[in-house]
């Protein structure tokens, strides 16, 4: 079974890198759909089946924090796991994001191995979530 991923980042380079890294990681990816900001992401989430979202925080129009809060207020979107990939390093903000429902937080730059661990943990029931702890 392959999984659909939504990649949300205002940087084309970041989106392409994450998309490529996911393909290289060996994770079972169906479609890797891209959005430039939180607003575009919410539109896609309303129309497409998405299994996992990778999102940046610092984006124009709607940032990643606002996007996560909108998802949590939506009955259909609130169960979709979100992993943040960001330059953010503030422990306070990371705690706030996790309290808002973000499941895992990765610092840029990320590696294919880090992405695969996130995909495996959220989308493969046979993989233990324990190994996510070291990702933060």
């Amino acid at each position: 079974m392959s999984y659909n991923i939504l990649i949300v980042d205002d940087s084309t380079t970041a989106r392409l890198f994450i998309s490529k890294a996911l393909q290289l990681s060996g994770a079972d990816i169906g479609r890797a759909i891209q959005a430039k900001n939180g607003l575009e992401a919410l539109e896609i989430l309303r129309k497409e089946w998405i299994d996992l979202v990778f999102a940046d925080i610092n984006m124009p129009e709607m940032n990643g924090i606002e996007m996560v809060r909108s998802m949590r207020d939506d009955g259909l979107m609130k169960t979709i796991p979100v992993a943040i990939i960001s330059t953010e390093r503030s422990e306070t903000r990371i705690s706030e994001l996790k309290a808002a429902g973000v499941r895992v937080f990765l610092n840029k730059p990320v590696t294919p191995e880090m992405l695969k661990r996130v995909v495996d943990t959220f989308l493969r029931p046979d993989v233990s979530p324990e190994h996510l702890k070291e990702l933060g």
């Binding site: 940087s11 084309t12 890198f17 390093r89 503030s90 730059p109």
Partner: protein
């Protein structure tokens, strides 16, 4: 993790140099070292200048200045492609994203991980050779060589 309190204008250029080196190596497999030449050669053409502002317990701005070809090299290395195939807009995006990530690392090294910072969206302009020379001589500047390409990073802090 480093949770040291903020220390405005202390070791700014060396922290920037470290952030540049760490991020280039991790994200683009490119290696950076401090330039030896007293007057680095940025050529006769205007260079790309990317800027990002940060706002938190301290406020300020970071600039990254490099020849216009540098963005294409960064994009090519990051994505594992030939730099000749990188479109101009993607090269511009790559250098903006590079400074965005450098800024995150810089703030962690400089200010620790307890404070919250808001970052602006990076902007791209150009800088003439004369302007580069002035900036390179300013406090808070570091010039590095990244695989034979000169790269200037500059930071200004407002407490």
């Amino acid at each position: 993790m480093n949770t040291e309190p903020t220390r405005p204008n202390d070791n700014l250029s060396s922290v920037l140099e470290q952030a540049l080196s760490d991020i280039l190596e991790q994200s683009a497999f490119m290696f950076s070292e401090k330039a030896d030449a007293p007057k680095p050669d940025f050529g006769d053409e205007p260079c790309a200048c990317v800027s990002i502002r940060f706002d938190g317990p301290i406020h300020g701005i970071l600039h990254l200045v490099a020849p216009s070809s540098f963005g294409g090299q960064v994009a090519a290395n990051t994505l594992g492609e030939d730099s000749a195939t990188i479109p101009t807009d993607q090269a511009a995006d790559a250098i903006k994203e590079l400074l965005n990530v450098i800024c995150g690392k810089f703030l962690e090294l400089y200010s620790g991980t307890s404070a919250i910072f808001n970052l602006s969206i990076p902007t791209l302009t150009t800088m003439t050779p004369a302007e580069i020379l002035v900036l390179a001589r300013s406090p808070g500047s570091a010039v590095c060589m990244v695989e034979d390409t000169p790269v200037l990073v500059h930071g200004e802090i407002t407490p």
